[in-house]
Symmetry: C2
Amino acid sequence: MNKKIGIIGLGTVGEATLRSLYKYSSLIEKRTSLKVEVAKVCDARIQKRKFVSQFSIPFTTNPYDLINDPHIDIIVELIGGIKLAKNYVISALKKGKDVVTANKALLAESGKNIFSLAKKLKRSIGFEASVCGAIPLIRSISEGLVGCEVKKFYGILNGTANYILCKMHKERISFSSALREAQMKGFVEKRSQLDIEGIDTLHKLAILSYLCFGVWPSLSKVYVEGISKVSPLDVMYAEELSYRIKLLAIAKRRKSKLDLRVHPTLIPQDHPISQVSLAFNALWVEASPAGELLFYGEGAGGAPTSSSVISDIVSISFAKPRFVKEVLNIYLESINSLQSRYYIRFMALDKPGVLAKISKILASLNISIASVTQKERRKLRYVPIVMLTHEAKESSIRKALSKIDELSVIKGPSQFIRIEDL
Amino acid sequence: MNKKIGIIGLGTVGEATLRSLYKYSSLIEKRTSLKVEVAKVCDARIQKRKFVSQFSIPFTTNPYDLINDPHIDIIVELIGGIKLAKNYVISALKKGKDVVTANKALLAESGKNIFSLAKKLKRSIGFEASVCGAIPLIRSISEGLVGCEVKKFYGILNGTANYILCKMHKERISFSSALREAQMKGFVEKRSQLDIEGIDTLHKLAILSYLCFGVWPSLSKVYVEGISKVSPLDVMYAEELSYRIKLLAIAKRRKSKLDLRVHPTLIPQDHPISQVSLAFNALWVEASPAGELLFYGEGAGGAPTSSSVISDIVSISFAKPRFVKEVLNIYLESINSLQSRYYIRFMALDKPGVLAKISKILASLNISIASVTQKERRKLRYVPIVMLTHEAKESSIRKALSKIDELSVIKGPSQFIRIEDL
C-alpha cells in the first residue's frame, strides 16, 4: 500500500519527522508493507527550502498547495499555535484528508469541534505526538485500556517545568537560577511561560481527560498553578519530610464528579513518579481492572516526537483510529471544594506565642495539623515554620492563610502546596 | 457491531475476563459501538459450570463445542500449557476464527508456526496478555514503535522472581525464606520452577524479541540463569556498591548480532527499573528515534490480565493486528562471547597472600579489577571477598573462576553476577 503525506511546518518536530521518515521508511515498509511517501512539504519560512532539497521533496510556502493537492492522503500539521493550525486542519478534513497533529494547544482549545467535524466527515485525526512526545500514551489509553474505567491519573507532562524543579532539588538553587540554566541549555522554548505557568500541562491534561473520561473540560474551569512561586526553602523542607515537589496534572473521577487540576504537588519520594528526572515525562494511571500503570519517556524533542507522528501516519493508513465517545454526565469539581492534605510554610517572628496564634486560627477552621517543623531559631527575626495538615478543605486553608497573613508576627503571603499521598 | 466470543479455560485469568466483560461491556459498547457477547465458555473441570451459570452463559467441558460453533468469531484461549492449547489454537484458526491468547509458553515455543499459519489463513492472533499482564506493551511496541529501531531492552518480566528478590533486599532473608513467603502469599504458582529458574522470563523475552527484532529465537540457544543461587550476602554487597539485583530479560542488537539473555543482574540502584517493586513488571526500551521508554504495571493476576485480553478482543474486532515481519539476517550471540562487567564473590581463607593469588589468575586472563571489598576479618576462616571487574569476556571469567576455585584457600564455587550499567 502507498500513502502520500504532506507536512506543514518545519520546526524541530517537522524537520525530525522528515529525517526519521527518510531513515526508517524502508524499515516501515518491511514491517507493514506500507510505503509512506512525503509528497510535499510546507513552511512559511522560504529559507527552509534548502533543508528540504536534500530529500528531493517539493517545497512550498503555501499550505494550501498541500491541502488542495488531490494526491495527498494525510496532512501532518506541525506548525503549533492555534489560529492558522486550526484553519489548515479543518480545511484538510473538508478536503477529505486524514490529519496527524502534534498540536496540544489546538486540541485542548478546539478538540471537541475538530473531532466532531472529523467524525461527521468520516476522517481520522492522529494525535499521539500531542501528549508526552515519544510515549505511546494515546494508543495505550484509547486502545489498551478500552475495557477499563480510569479512576485517576497523575502526569508529569512538561519537561521544562520538571527540569527546573529537578535542578532546584539537586542543586538547591532558586527558581530563577534554574530557569536561566534551562534557557541556556535550550530546554525552554520561546513561550516558556506556557511551560512554567502550567498552561502546557493544562493542554495535555485536557486531551487526557477526553481520552480517559470522554470529557473535554472547559479550560478556564480547571485550576492551574505554575511553579514560579516554589522556593528553595519549600524544596528543602519537602525533601526533609520525604517528599518531592513536582508539577502534576491530576485527574480523579468519583462517580459523576471529575477533579482536574494542575499545580505543584508534594509527592512521596519513593513513588516511581518522584524519580522522573529532568526533561522526561511520565503518566501514572490507576484503572479498573488494569490496576496501576506507569508510562515514562522523552516528552519532547524532535526525534522522539517524530516517532509518535510516524506511528500515527501508519495507524491511520491501516484503519481509522477509534476514539472515546463523549460522556456528558460528568461534572468538573471546583478547586474550592477540594479536600486535600497541605504543606504550609509561614515566615514568622521567632518569639513566644506565635505558634499558638497560628494554631488557633487553623483550629477555628477545622484544619488539623499532622506535623510542625521549625528548625531555625533567630530571636525576633522571621524564620520558616512548616506544617503538614491532615485532610482539609481548600476553601478553609485559603481563609486560614489570609487571616494568618494579617497577623503582625507573620510576613506574608504564606506558602501552601497540596500533597498527594499517591 | 456484534462479536461473539468463546472462552476456553476458566483459571484466574479466564474467570476474571468473564467478570470484567460482564462489568464493562456496556462501557466498551458506549466507547466503540462494539457489542462483545460471550457465546460459550469451556473448562475441563465440570465444577466450573456453577461459576459460569451466574452469567447465564452456556458452559461445556468440550472445547470443540466452541471451536466448531460457526457463530463464534473469536476464540479466547486461557488454559495455559502447550500441547492442548496448541491444538485448540490451530483448530480455531483453521475454522476461520481469530484467536486471543495469554499463553506465553505456547507462543515462545510455537509462535513462529502459529503466526505463519494465521497469516496464511488471514486470521489474527491477539497476545497482549501474554507479556506483562496489564501493560499495553505489545501494541506499544508493534504499533507505537512501528517506525523505530529497537537498540536494546531490559525487562523485569516475572513478578514472582521480582517479589522474592525484593523481599531478600528489604528483609535481608535467604532465597528459600523469601520463596516460602511468596508461596504463602499465593504469589507463586504451582509450577514455580518456571518463575524462579527464569523460564517464564525466557518465554516473554522470546515474544519481545519477535516484536522488537522480528526474530523468534531458538529457546535452547538463549542463556538462562535463575535466581536460586543469589545469596543474602550478594544482595547486601550489591546494595553497598549502590546496585540492586534483578532478574532481567536482556536484549541488545548490534547490527546483525542479537544478544539475548536472562539472568540475575546488578543494576544501578537509582535507575527507574531498580525501583520496580514486589510483583510488578517493567520494560525499559531504548529505540531510535523514540529514545528511552519505560512501561510499568501489574504483570500478572486475573483482573489486570483481563484488561489486556479484552483490549485484544476489541482490536481484533475492528481490524487485523499487524505484526512485524520476520527478519532473517540476525544472529544470536552465544553467552561465551559476551563482554560485560561482573560482580564476583569468593569465599576465601583470611590469611596473607590470598588476594595476590586471586589477582594473579584474573590478570593472566586479562580481567581487570575495578574495586575490591573485604569487610569481615576472621583469621584462618572463610570470609567473602567481593570484586567488581571492568569489562571482561564471559569465557575468561568462567575460566578464571574455575581456576580460582581449585586454590586450597578458596571454598568454591565462587559466585559471579553480571552487571548492566544501563
